[in-house]
Symmetry: C2
Subunit: 340 residues, 2 copies
């Protein structure tokens, strides 16, 4: 088969790769229905934490089970399934507590390369969530979104303790931030302030439930959030960027006793202990345990309650994957869906 491989900075190629096959008896092989480019794919694409050798790319996926290993019990060939970007056994104490991304046997799906027609999924029983029947094609973008970008935005909102009546601020207007807005709306937030400078993203943010837009950044952005909240700061802040500036903006926008949920993959961040101590905010974040939320999120998509697939504002065939990366890198696209 042919799939996406990163050769070096800004050099993604659609090239021949070995067909995935069952290696462990707990594996499944999926025929991918749709996959996409993640904001986190742009870090190595831009040469940050770049690989030393060509690596397969992609970790967001949904598709139909093609083959299962001898020990797989919970899914069967022909079923449509969604999985997270971490494979997990879903039975260890960490999984049972809801932190499947840190499963004692977690496997990062990026290593398998989901931007391809077929994908090996380890720990299939713990990882994959099947739908009751094959979904209609028009739901594919939203089902694909549950795999990471929605699951991550949802976790951020959950980690930020979003609840009815609360004021939520969202730092980052990428796909995760925008779906953080959608998540906060679903969780009953009263006021959702999206920090964004891009008109197209502001528009989608409002559609997802943002009540206010703040265009200022850094200290000015913090001051605006304070102004809007009687000088106190937001109850809940979602951080969806991962830089020093965005983390400090999130922490400083949160009222004492409030919660920061951070999901932007941290790059070069260092949190000053004294400021954090006197900020007195709850911090929780990391790679989202999407598996915890998948059944609920898939259910909401199938019921037509949410339409997170709207974050995909570009769709290209998988063979044009390089254009997908370019469009996101150049901010021409919020998020690119790859059809297979």
């Amino acid at each position: 088969m042919k799939g996406a491989v990163l050769y070096g900075p800004r050099d993604v190629r659609f090239v021949e790769r070995e067909d995935p096959r069952i290696i462990e008896p707990t594996d499944a092989i999926l025929r991918i229905s749709a996959t996409c480019v993640c904001g986190s794919d742009l870090w190595p694409y831009r040469g940050i934490d770049a690989p030393r050798q060509p690596i397969p790319m992609g970790h967001e996926y949904c598709g139909v089970v093609e083959e299962i290993g001898s020990e797989v019990r919970n899914v069967r060939p022909g079923q449509f399934v969604v999985g997270s970007f971490f494979a997990s056994d879903n039975t260890c104490p960490i999984c049972r507590a809801g932190y499947q991304s840190r499963c004692v046997d977690a496997r990062i799906m990026g290593a398998e390369g989901a931007q391809a027609p077929f994908l090996r999924v380890p720990l299939a029983d713990g990882t994959l969530v099947p739908t009751p029947e094959l979904p209609p094609d028009d739901l594919l973008p939203s089902l694909l979104a549950t795999s990471d970008v929605l699951g991550t935005g949802w976790f951020a909102a959950d980690a930020a303790a979003v609840a009815p009546g609360k004021t939520v601020a969202v730092v980052g207007d990428g796909a995760v931030g925008l779906l953080g807005v959608l998540s906060a709306k679903q969780m009953g937030a009263e006021r959702i302030i999206l920090m964004s400078r891009h008109e197209d993203r502001q528009k989608l943010g409002r559609e997802f439930g943002a009540t206010d837009i703040v265009t200022e950044r850094g200290d000015e952005g913090v001051a605006r959030i304070k102004d809007m909240t009687d000088g106190l700061g937001a109850h809940s802040v979602i951080e969806a960027v991962g830089t020093q500036q965005s983390m400090m903006q999130a922490i400083r926008s949160t009222r004492p006793g409030g919660h920061v949920g951070y999901v932007g993959v941290s790059h070069g961040v260092s949190l000053p202990g004294e400021e954090l101590f006197f900020a007195e905010v709850h911090l929780m974040g990391g790679p989202a345990p999407v598996r915890r939320y998948l059944p609920e999120l898939i259910g909401m998509v199938l019921d037509g309650k949410i339409n997170p697939g709207k974050v995909f504002d570009q769709t290209v065939p998988l063979e044009q994957v390089a254009e997908g990366y370019r469009a996101m890198d150049e901010r021409r696209a919020i998020k690119t869906l790859l059809t297979v």
Copy 2:
């Protein structure tokens, strides 16, 4: 009156100070029944964040109301009261959410200097909690302890989400860490691991409820905690030191999805973003909102359910305050009570 004043590194003197008087109509003046030296007093005593001019010392106190301002309604002269090291109005949105140490009008009590026979308490209605009647003298140490050291240990355990069935690790065997052990025990923790190298502190820790002692520190200490918890780490970790090593030890001793409650006043700490991201632990800490817990803690002391005053292993008259600082600095005493 005469009270404790810090003149420079390791130079605390018992000298003449102005008698406190009502300045604002919301003030109260207390006749101090007992006060003490705090671990955090040792930072400036040792010359770290040292003041540029002589400053009155002390922020832990209990005593009898001597005089009240014209707007004080909740306490009256003759009542025995305890307050926290932050005065707070207890009515603002931050106070109502339980974070009185970050009250919008918070006043740090250290500025008033509680190591003295009399003390001005601002915002008396919000700050002071009276007992139903004058307590017997033998309860004074434990009532004094609720003012900060127990309240802080209790907050740390609460911030670390201690609950029945959980395994708790405590980093720091000072008075706060030891009362973190007591707090975790009261909250129903199944296993309480105290990290301590000092035999006298280990003994008191066991008396307060520690089930295990770990003498290793740093990476070795973390490895021991992992060994004792099936490789996972503790559910809840209390950090009661405030250094880089102790914070990292706490974070690394916590299982993914677990909670760190940190109350050691942060000095020179810098948390690496990437490690924190992948650690995926809840962080909450800062100056303890002791006021939130005071009614409950005072009640437990009066009912004889807890005896936190045992952390005072040295008692000296206030005029010998310099010896109290020396004893704690030299680790001859865990905590020094000053009689007035």
